[in-house]
């Protein structure tokens, strides 16, 4: 009894004999050599033969080689250095000419590792083709195995044979290494920070690796590049924004610490996916009020870098506004806008409103801190200022209407009083010649008085002459009464008194 295998490929017209599978006595046959098109549908049929008798053909076995193929085991190479295990994985079908899994870059390698002791815990993690396993205890034997998988095809390959290796002691120059390597990124400015406990002089070199290189099977250890500006530095931080040239694609960063004695140590690596690692800073805010609308002007975070952020993050803004009154029971209202200008309406007049804004990216599930608060007061009723103005104007007019006539009247009164009580008069020009001596004293001065030249009629005693003179004097005095000192018409009392005195003197 023997079996005959035949195959029919999709694009072929007839059944083909499978080489090496004619007249087989076993119930199985390897027909790999006949299968060349892995993506085509193949139909296989068998029949039994005994001398001249043939059985009918079996039911047809239909298959697409690619879909029934299983992923074989990958190859492993191990190295134990400094308490760390370095692993190099070679893909299944590594040296084959014709491959089922042509795109070996697609494989994701799954490593299972455990301590070579009883009831050891199995730990599973994914590894790159060239990777290192560093969370291990020193001086311990570990066993591991690796499988290649195609996650999207839900395909898991066969495990490689188990390999065991012993870890060495940890390196002595541990203290030299930079620790706590972390990234702080704000508004697309990326900074690397690290710590170091080395007591002596140490300088640093910050290096970066383009992310996809780890995916390739080539050795990427020589592909690390120095970050410009962070070579041979003593500061424990580095601004590596210059190497982030695009937002698509990630990078790995590490710090190489070097001591004076040419000893160096590499820190752990940090993965940076620019848009995911970056944090969005707060936006700027300006508020303005006009009538019943509150205008909010938002300046996007990042300044000159803001274009990159706006483009990739598809930023929106969350505006919070509330009434700032003494009782803090006012509810905070929220408004989400896409543009950088927002308005808030239905405001109560004469109220102080406060606003703050936050930028957020729904796509990346990131939001910034809030901007500073800006407060502005809504204007009062429009009518009130007008009332105030009107009142002021009318009051002004009223005051003026009263004040001006009053002022005028007062002025008139003043001038009249001045005229009556304090006349400003001048003596007429014809008596100006008498001068002051005539009125300076009320007493008659005999020596100074001009004596009339009279002819003496009789021998008259000098006393009679004096009487006549005296009367003349009285009259002359009366006629020129108005001296400078007196402004009164009625001056008889004054002269009378002087007359009496004169009489007394004579007598």
């Amino acid at each position: 009894l023997s079996y005959r295998f035949e195959d029919f490929e999709t694009n072929e017209t007839e059944w083909k004999e499978l080489p090496g599978c004619q007249n087989v006595t076993r119930t199985e046959c390897d027909f790999s050599s006949a299968i060349t098109e892995y993506y085509d549908t193949h139909h296989v049929r068998i029949r039994a033969e005994r001398r001249e008798e043939v059985s009918p053909w079996s039911s047809i076995f239909e298959m697409i080689p690619y879909f029934i193929a299983q992923i074989g085991p990958p190859g492993i190479e191990l190295q134990s250095i400094n308490g760390v295990i370095k692993i190099t994985v070679s893909p299944p079908e590594a040296n084959q000419v014709r491959k089922m899994w042509i795109d070996h870059l697609r494989f994701k390698y799954n490593l299972v590792i455990w301590e070579n002791s009883s009831n050891a815990e199995f730990r599973s993690r994914s590894v790159f083709p060239t990777d290192k396993i560093d969370d291990l205890a020193p001086d311990t034997t570990y066993c591991l195995k690796v499988q290649a998988t195609l996650p999207l095809e839900l395909q898991e390959g066969l495990f490689s044979p188990i390999r065991c290796i012993k870890t060495t002691r940890k390196a002595v120059n541990n203290l030299l290494c930079a620790t706590n390597v972390s990234v702080l990124a704000l508004n697309m400015k990326f900074h690397l920070h690290w710590n170091n406990q080395y007591k002596q002089y140490v300088s640093y070199n910050v290096q970066y690796l383009i992310g996809y290189l780890k995916k390739l099977h080539d050795d990427y250890s020589g592909k690390w590049l120095n970050v410009p500006g962070c070579e041979n530095i003593t500061d424990t931080q580095c601004n590596f924004s210059s190497i982030i040239t695009t937002t698509s694609g990630f990078y790995y960063l590490r710090v190489q610490a070097m001591s004076e004695y040419n000893k160096s140590c590499l820190s752990n690596e940090v993965k940076v996916d620019p848009l995911i690692t970056n944090e969005i800073g707060p936006p700027g805010i300006k508020v303005d009020i006009s009538d019943v609308l509150l205008h909010i002007q938002i300046s996007p975070p990042g300044g000159s870098e803001s274009e990159v952020m706006r483009d990739h993050y598809d930023l929106s803004y969350r505006v919070l506004y509330w009434k700032n009154s003494s009782n803090n029971e006012e509810e905070i209202k929220m408004k989400e806008i896409k543009q950088t200008i927002g308005t808030v309406s239905d405001l109560t007049p004469s109220t102080l409103y406060c606003v703050k804004v936050q930028a957020f990216s729904e796509v990346y599930n990131k939001s910034s801190c809030y901007s500073r608060e800006e407060c502005i007061k809504t204007p009062g009723d429009k009518i009130l200022p007008l009332i105030i103005l009107a009142t002021f104007v009318t009051a002004l007019i009223a005051v003026l209407l009263v004040a001006i006539p009053l002022g005028f009247a007062l002025y008139q009164a003043y001038s009249k009083i001045k005229y009556v009580f304090f006349p400003s008069c001048q003596p007429p020009s014809n008596i100006e010649g008498f001068g002051g001596q005539l009125f300076s004293s009320p007493y008659l001065s005999t020596t100074e008085e001009p004596i009339e030249n009279c002819s003496i009629i009789g021998t008259v005693t000098t006393e009679v002459v004096h009487q006549i003179d005296f009367k003349d004097y009285k009259y002359s005095k009366q006629s020129s009464r108005d001296s400078g000192n007196y402004s009164n018409d009625d001056d008889t009392s004054g002269s009378k008194a002087s007359e009496e005195m004169l009489v007394k003197e004579i007598v």
């Binding site: 994701k108 499988q147 996809y212 698509s248 796509v363």
Partner: protein
């Protein structure tokens, strides 16, 4: 027992891939558009204009456009991921004779790789058992890229074969761009 263990492995791989991307997968198209725009620019940047002497060696590879006619968003994501993987693979080796700008090429590959990782994480998150149904399309794509791979091998990765392949990839990305804009 093996199956259960296998599922655990898948679960762990899922975990490791999802920790890579914290992207909300609903908005993946926005990011993809940016990456494709960027990739097209880089593809142009890495070399010069198509050389005249390579015109006669041009081949028609016949990209299976029907794979990009989306019925569901999820279908398209898987298809795009598949295409990115293929392009990433093609541009990963034997590029010496192409003599392209190394930096542009690196950035191109890096962008593709980031997208592949994120797509994978999103697809796995949403519908892990999805792909079994639309496998025919994936096979068509594999055949298409296989043709290009054979073409390059056949011509020993010389300049013209690379330039023709680059032009073909450009067309491919433009088709994807059109589809994504409609999503």
């Amino acid at each position: 027992i093996m199956n259960a263990f296998g599922l655990i492995q898948i679960g762990l791989i899922l975990f490791s891939t999802t920790t890579i991307s914290s992207l909300q997968c609903n908005h993946l198209p926005l990011q993809q558009r940016k990456v494709i725009e960027n990739s097209l620019q880089l593809l142009d940047k890495m070399g010069k204009k198509f050389p005249q002497q390579c015109q006669r060696e041009k081949m028609s590879f016949r990209f299976p456009e029907q794979v990009l006619k989306p019925r569901q968003k999820e279908t398209v994501k898987v298809v795009i991921e598949e295409i990115f993987q293929h392009i990433f693979y093609i541009f990963s080796k034997n590029l010496t004779l192409a003599a392209w700008d190394g930096t542009a090429l690196e950035q191109f590959q890096n962008g593709l790789y980031q997208q592949i990782e994120q797509l994978e994480a999103c697809v796995l998150k949403k519908q892990p058992h999805y792909f079994r149904s639309k496998e025919v399309n994936r096979l068509k794509l594999k055949k298409y890229f296989q043709k290009i791979d054979f073409f390059l091998k056949d011509k020993q990765h010389n300049l013209c074969s690379w330039e023709i392949s680059r032009a073909e990839m450009r067309r491919c990305l433009q088709l994807i761009d059109k589809v994504i804009r409609k999503l």
